[in-house]
């Protein structure tokens, strides 16, 4: 199974400054945790609309290397997504 996260635009990376290009690598946009910006302390498992944006079609949790979410918030997010799955608000696997 191939993952095509890299090709997709989730809209998290836009509107932020480009950092200096490192070595021969392509210029990258700096990703910033949107929960930190919005000062979110608690991610609710009932907020399906929010969680959906971190669950691509396949139903997997979007890794933070793609979304740019910080470790703390990724942990909360994962917890909330797993709870939502349990109560059938989000799929375990979908295709």
């Amino acid at each position: 199974m191939s993952s095509n996260y890299e090709d997709r635009d989730f809209g998290f990376e836009r509107e932020y400054d480009r950092t200096m290009p490192r070595g021969p690598r392509r210029m990258q946009r700096r990703k910033i945790c949107r929960f930190c910006i919005e000062k979110v302390d608690l991610i609710d498992f009932k907020d399906v609309k929010l969680l959906m944006s971190y669950v691509p079609e396949r139903g997997k949790i979007l890794p933070r290397r793609i979304s740019g979410v910080c470790a703390t918030h990724q942990r909360m997010l994962a917890e909330a997504i797993k709870r939502a799955r349990n109560i059938a608000l989000l799929p375990y696997a979908a295709d």
């Binding site: 000062k39 302390d41 608690l42 009932k46 709870r83 799955r85 349990n86 109560i87 059938a88």
Partner: protein
């Protein structure tokens, strides 16, 4: 064990059950909880919605959310009853008081940090002040 705990109790009722059945079920649950010494702080009928996956070959269900305060004994009792009730497709209890306390702590820490920051570095101070402006805009 005497401490008060807060729980969120969510359950899914069979979509074939009528509205009265749903109300009756949730009232039954509330009665059990109050009978065991707990109290209900919030009731929310979230209505019928599509399930993300089939449960017992059902494609949708009626969601009910309760917020319960108590010792935990009433949760055990309610869950025991729900397990044997065919009309309840799925239930889940989440303890929220600890989560909320943690969130408050985070908020506290951030407030303290924000108060401390402007003291060091001009560039940083500028960044912080622009951030603070944003805060006010949000608030």
């Amino acid at each position: 064990m005497a401490e008060k705990r807060t729980y969120e109790l969510m359950f899914i009722v069979d979509p074939d059950a009528g509205d009265e059945d749903v109300v009756k079920l949730s009232e039954g649950v509330q009665k059990i909880i109050t009978g065991q010494g707990g109290s209900i702080t919030k009731t929310e009928m979230m209505g019928k919605r599509k399930l993300a996956y089939e449960i017992n070959h059902k494609k949708d269900g009626t969601y009910v959310l309760l917020e319960v305060e108590g010792s935990g004994a009433e949760i055990a009792e309610v869950e025991r009853r729900m397990r044997v009730n065919d009309q309840i497709l799925r239930y889940m209890t989440v303890r929220v008081d600890e989560m909320r306390r943690r969130a408050d702590k985070l908020k506290d820490r951030r407030a303290r940090k924000a108060a401390k920051k402007p003291a060091n570095g001009k560039a940083k101070a500028a960044a912080v002040s622009s951030e603070a402006d944003e805060d006010e805009a949000v608030a």
